[in-house]
């Protein structure tokens, strides 16, 4: 019974393929308003999808997880990925599938108009099928987005922890972005390694680029300071913005005996003084 009904669906699609395609494209144009540049692209995709759908329904029935549907699923995943890159919204991406409903149902009605039971059944099956395919695009869209986010996180982790040598024995660590446990670990490791490599005894941690300092971030900072101290390097925390200073006090975070300075310049001056150096103007 099931098989038979779907054979009819495939049959109806192949019979009216060009009409369905035309109406579908019109629907898509109305819904998504993509520019003229994507017109050809969308046409090609729609034609390909309809052909694949026809074959899959013909061979595989209603379960889209079977091997007969592999091609359709691959095509949808591919399409969703492309649309992520082209800046489509999730609903616009899913609309690719959902806008097919109207023309498809229209033709089902035309074919099966007299037999209301068969029509209801066919419509229901087609709805189920298209909903599943729609969810499939949404899932692929989401997955692609997550991949992008994951890659960006990794990149940020890599490029945001430079340790710079300001002077003989003085290191600076300009922190940019939020400090979480994972980043603290990376920051700590690279700072300590640099302390060993350069034989520095003063490290300036500049938090100008850290947007929020809460108790957790403060704890991470203090951990880094403690670890550096264990290796014989004193830390100065600089770049504390007025709001951050207020937050620290309001939260009751105890920074202990860590030296804090408003700007990197102040911290550098302290560091130079500790090393018995001074910056002097050259007299003309």
């Amino acid at each position: 019974m099931n098989k038979l009904v779907h054979t009819r669906l495939a049959e109806i699609i192949s019979k009216h393929e060009s009409d369905i395609l035309k109406e579908w494209l019109e629907n898509q144009r109305a819904e998504t308003r993509f520019g003229a540049s994507l017109e050809a692209n969308v046409q090609e995709q729609s034609r390909e999808f309809l052909a694949l759908l026809k074959d899959a329904v013909h061979q595989g029935g209603a379960d889209i997880m079977t091997t007969e549907w592999t091609d359709v699923r691959a095509m949808l995943t591919n399409l969703s990925k492309k649309r992520v890159q082209q800046g489509f919204t999730p609903s616009q991406t899913a609309m690719f599938i959902f806008s097919l409903k109207q023309p498809l149902f229209e033709h089902l009605r035309m074919e099966l108009g007299q037999d209301s039971e068969a029509l209801a059944h066919e419509t229901w099956m087609a709805t189920l099928l298209l909903d599943k395919l729609g969810l499939c695009t949404a899932e692929a869209y989401q997955k692609t987005r997550e991949e992008v986010i994951g890659r960006q996180q990794q990149e940020m982790l890599e490029l945001s922890t430079p340790v710079v040598k300001l002077w003989q024995g003085i290191l600076a660590l300009p922190l940019i972005g939020t400090l979480d446990s994972q980043r603290t670990q990376v920051v700590m490791e690279s700072l300590l390694q640099q302390v060993v490599d350069t034989g520095s005894d003063i490290a300036i941690i500049d938090i100008t680029g850290v947007p929020i300092v809460d108790t957790l971030v403060a704890q991470h900072l203090l951990k880094t300071v403690a670890a550096a101290r264990l290796m014989g390097a004193d830390c100065i925390i600089s770049g504390i913005r007025p709001q951050i200073a207020q937050t620290i006090v309001h939260l009751g975070v105890a920074l202990g005996d860590v030296i804090t300075k408003a700007t990197l310049a102040d911290a550098f001056a302290v560091a130079l003084k500790r090393r018995g150096l001074a910056v002097q103007a050259i007299k003309a």
């Binding site: 300590l192 034989g199 520095s200 005894d201 951990k223 403690a226 550096a228 101290r229 264990l230 014989g232």
Partner: protein, 125 residues
């Protein structure tokens, strides 16, 4: 039984930990060092842990204890040459050795000891 040597250099004692510390060895070192400080009248102790790769909370606490014992016996203690991994481990264990002085290597540690002890000696002379 293996033993950690304690070398006397002028007014200072130098302890170089070259083997992995186990608990009994650590306790023996604590005893030996306290005795040597008293006998030699040393003013400063340098503990070089640059060869130490593994620390646990016990060894961490022991370093703190040695510093406390030395300071009661009026000898300043400087722990030198801690590896980055060891420092991170100690911090993660919550042992920040607040009362222990640290330096990057033996040379800097000696310099630090001289700087700490200088004013006092000056005072006595």
């Amino acid at each position: 039984m293996e033993k950690i040597p304690i070398l006397k250099i002028g007014d200072f004692l130098l302890v170089t930990i070259q083997v992995d510390m186990h608990d009994r060895l650590a306790l023996a070192l604590q005893d030996d060092l306290a005795a040597r400080i008293v006998v030699s009248g040393a003013r400063g102790v340098l503990i070089d842990i640059s060869a130490l790769e593994i620390v646990d909370s016990f060894i961490g606490r022991m370093l703190g204890n040695i510093a406390a014992i030395s300071s009661i016996l009026d000898a300043a203690t400087v722990v030198v040459g801690m590896r980055p991994a060891v420092a991170i481990t100690l911090v993660e264990l919550g042992i920040s050795l607040n009362r222990v002085r640290t330096a990057l290597n033996v040379e800097k540690g000696l310099e630090l000891l001289r700087r700490i002890l200088e004013p006092q000696e000056y005072h006595y002379q």
